[in-house]
């Protein structure tokens, strides 16, 4: 396979297209509501009627709550809540607008306000066919990098794009690549962190299920840039569909010659292996992830040395998140300047969010950095259901914080979210309405961190248990004001002295709710009352088990 024959593959694929096509979302959300049966029924119906309509499974169409979703091309019509019994009607009326029952407005803000880079192919290509990715311009960036660019030029472009790590911390990607490229060592590795573990977050899963080749291409470009020939994709085992599609994608890419030995006949080798996580949140921390890939217990270790200097098998290792790698091919194809023109001064490009909680449109959205929370919640998300009002937006999962409704007009970028006491995180966004109790919210996240602590360092292992105990005491109305002080002191202690990011950020949900919703804590402590009516307050002398 040479770059020229890659073009031929793309042209052949484009030439094979039919006048009509029906694209069934086969990402995990729609599959769980019956998309596989819909796909089968539509295929059978199209065949039985002999119509020139290609029926295929595609990646995530975004609005998970209305699944199974089917998109019709070229009309662009969207169908919601499709069942196998709708197949006959849909095939019979190809190209016509769907009936009211099935119609999903494709012009609503949820779709129109998004800006797609990472998700550009999601919902339009079949994730299980490499030809479709190639036809959509895939592996072109890799071909260009290998034949026309030098590693340092690739790094220069990534740096110029202003891309920052999408795993949550926002470290400049170009700087990381340059560090690994400079690190000395006979062997280097590129690792993709797909151990997405935040409750309510499913961005990486969706990208892997919808467009796995994009991540592989990004990894291969990174490998070329830093001088690595081996890579690992560390995926949590709870994502079986993503794992299946990734393994298939690797096989297809190797067969096509865009991965493996002598890529695109340029002499560059890059082999990728999939490694499965065994269900520990902490394995998303890079040093724990490395230990896990090596077959050890997934415990973090102190940094420095950073993985860029001494990582997998003691070799320089580049670790980036799924979404970070997924941005790379487009940045190379469309140019660093184009990418840098999107977003804010310090946060470039777009961010994918998994929108969940008390919101009308739950699902996956990709928005330009700098968009306000209001636009996400009210325009794209459609607002709060029922007659409830917005109380807070939780970002960054158990490592993040709760941003109160008063900051709804603040822009979403790394710096602003930090300033507000939260973090960008990997992209979980949970909308909280006034029916929720913030003490209860903090307790939920603390329970998660307490259970997921690896147990290595004392503050995280024993501190989270005590914080959780204090929150439970407060929720039951059994705490005094001194407990509130203790909660704050202990949270700060765990944040300051824990070994890894898990412990250092575990108190964030507590500290941010203490900062913005202290009145709710005080109501529990002083008035022995839960304003939202969520917590079960102990009666005098009662012991709640």
């Amino acid at each position: 396979m040479t770059p020229e024959s890659l073009t031929q593959v793309a042209e052949k694929e484009r030439a094979s297209s039919t006048p009509h096509s029906l694209q069934v979302c086969t990402a995990a959300g729609c599959v769980s509501s019956g998309a596989d049966e819909v796909l089968k029924a539509l295929k059978a119906e199209a065949k039985a009627r002999g119509v020139a309509c290609q029926v295929k499974g595609v990646g995530c169409l975004g609005m998970c709550q209305a699944g199974p979703l089917v998109a019709a091309e070229p009309s662009g019509h969207l169908h919601k809540f499709v069942t196998p019994t709708d197949a006959a009607e849909m095939i019979a009326h190809l190209g016509e607008p769907p009936t009211e029952r099935l119609a999903l407005d494709a012009d609503q803000a949820f779709f129109k306000r998004q800006e797609k880079i990472v998700l550009e192919n999601s919902g339009s290509i079949d994730a299980e066919r490499i030809e479709e990715y190639v036809a959509a311009g895939g592996y072109k960036a890799l071909a260009e990098a290998l034949s026309d660019l030098t590693p340092s030029l690739v790094i220069k472009r990534v740096t110029a794009s202003g891309l920052r790590g999408r795993g949550g911390a926002g470290f400049p990607t170009g700087v990381k690549w340059a560090t690994v490229a400079k690190a000395a060592g006979p062997r280097k590795f590129v690792v993709c962190n797909a151990d997405e573990g935040d409750p309510g977050a499913f961005m990486d899963r969706s990208v892997l299920e919808s467009d796995p080749h994009r991540v592989l291409e990004g990894m291969a470009i990174a490998a070329f840039a830093v001088g690595a020939h081996e890579g690992y994709l560390y995926v949590r085992a709870e994502y079986p569909l993503a794992v299946k599609r990734l393994k298939l994608a690797i096989k297809q890419a190797e067969r096509l010659g865009v991965l493996g030995r002598n890529i695109l006949e340029t002499g560059f080798d890059f082999h990728v292996e999939v490694r499965l996580g065994a269900g520990a949140f902490v394995c998303g921390e890079e040093t724990a992830l490395i230990a896990s890939i090596q077959g050890g217990r997934g415990n973090p270790r102190p940094r420095p040395p950073f993985p860029a200097e001494r990582g997998l098998w003691h070799s320089p290792t580049l670790i980036n998140n799924v979404e970070t790698f997924a941005n790379i091919p487009t940045i190379l194809r469309k140019g660093a300047e184009w990418f840098a023109s999107i977003g804010t001064e310090k946060s470039k490009g777009t961010k994918v969010f998994a929108l969940a909680g008390a919101i009308r449109n739950t699902g996956l959205v990709e928005v330009p950095m700098g968009i306000t929370l209001r636009e996400i919640v009210y325009d794209i998300g459609g607002g709060i259901p029922g007659d409830r009002t917005l109380k807070a937006v939780q970002t960054g999962g158990p490592s993040g914080g709760c941003i109160p409704a008063e900051f709804i007009d603040q822009p979403v970028d790394y710096e602003t979210l930090n300033k507000l006491g939260s973090i960008m995180g990997s992209g979980g966004m949970i909308v909280i309405d006034d029916s929720a109790c913030m003490v209860d919210v903090a307790r939920f996240f603390m329970e998660f961190c307490m259970t997921e602590s690896c147990g290595k360092c004392v503050p995280c292992r024993a501190g989270t248990v005590q914080i959780h105990g204090l929150l439970t005491k407060i929720a039951r109305g059994e705490a005094g004001l001194e407990d509130l002080d203790r909660l704050e002191t202990l949270s700060t202690m765990v944040k300051r002295s824990s070994l890894c990011g898990l412990g250092q950020s575990a108190p964030n949900p507590v500290l941010s709710t203490l900062r913005y919703f202290r009145d709710e804590y005080l109501a529990h402590v002083v008035d022995h009352r839960c304003p939202a009516g969520v917590c079960k307050i102990a009666a005098e002398g009662e012991v709640i088990r």
Binding site: P302, K456, V458, R461, A462, Q466, R496
Partner: protein
């Protein structure tokens, strides 16, 4: 990486000290008689950075750093006794005392326990957190030694000495969070663990009464660090070797 033998000068607690580039803050502090408390650290074993007792402040770094693994650098300014650090160490110890069962008066290691000594040093006379007291199974299946996880602080010194010095790899950690336990082989009763050579190194390096010799009554379990010559070779005037 080759050892960095270049000479560095730095300041620890307002004292000018000299070091080589491959030394840690802890090593240099000890050479100069500056006390930094440790618990999971033991000279001669790989550092773990787990107990967080040795956290120090380095001017210019917004994070506190564990002295046992942080290498010195030229012009570094280290503070080991700020009010914040002292409070964090106190709280770390309190969390440990509240976590399991550390009732000294009925412990074989009473008077010879590193956790107890650290508590005395830090003036701990009460614990601010409720005691958890999990009921953990004591393993007395080994003919000569016993293991009481209720006294364990999960420092991992037994795991490391067994792997790094004895080369037997009997011990490991299992579970996670507060449910983490030291386990022989794959959850084998210690006495049935075929890989155990009964050398007793784990017992002697254990800072508390979690690992003990059978037949010792209260306060009789004095650990003999000279039992572990490889570790003794790296012995210094530090406080790893208990009281």
């Amino acid at each position: 990486m080759s050892p960095d033998a270049s000479v560095k000068t730095l300041v620890i607690d307002d004292r000018d000290v000299g070091a080589t580039g491959d030394q840690t803050i802890l090593e240099v502090a000890r050479e100069h008689g500056i006390r930094i408390p440790t618990l999971c650290h033991l000279e001669g074993l790989m550092p773990a950075g787990a107990c967080r007792m040795c956290l120090v402040e380095v001017v210019g770094s917004n994070k506190l750093l564990p002295a046992c693994v942080t290498k010195v650098s030229e012009g570094m300014e280290v503070r080991t006794q700020t009010p914040e650090i002292k409070e964090l160490r106190r709280m770390t110890l309190e969390l440990l005392f509240a976590e399991r069962n550390h009732i000294c008066s009925v412990c074989v290691s009473n008077g010879h326990c590193q956790l107890q000594a650290l508590a005395t040093e830090h003036g701990i006379d009460h614990i601010r957190f409720p005691y958890q007291y999990p009921r953990l199974q004591v393993d007395t299946t080994h003919p000569r030694y016993g293991m009481d996880p209720n006294r364990c602080v999960l420092c991992g010194r037994c795991v490391r000495v067994c792997a790094e010095v004895e080369g037997a790899h009997v011990w490991d950690m299992m579970g996670r969070g507060s449910g983490t336990l030291i386990t022989a082989e794959l959850r084998t009763p210690w006495g049935l663990a075929k890989s155990c050579t009964s050398c007793g190194k784990c017992v002697q390096v254990c800072p508390t009464g979690a690992l003990f010799e059978k037949g010792r009554a209260v306060a009789e379990m004095e650990k003999r660090r000279d039992f572990v010559p490889a570790i003794l070779a790296g012995r210094d005037e530090g406080d790893d070797l208990m009281p």
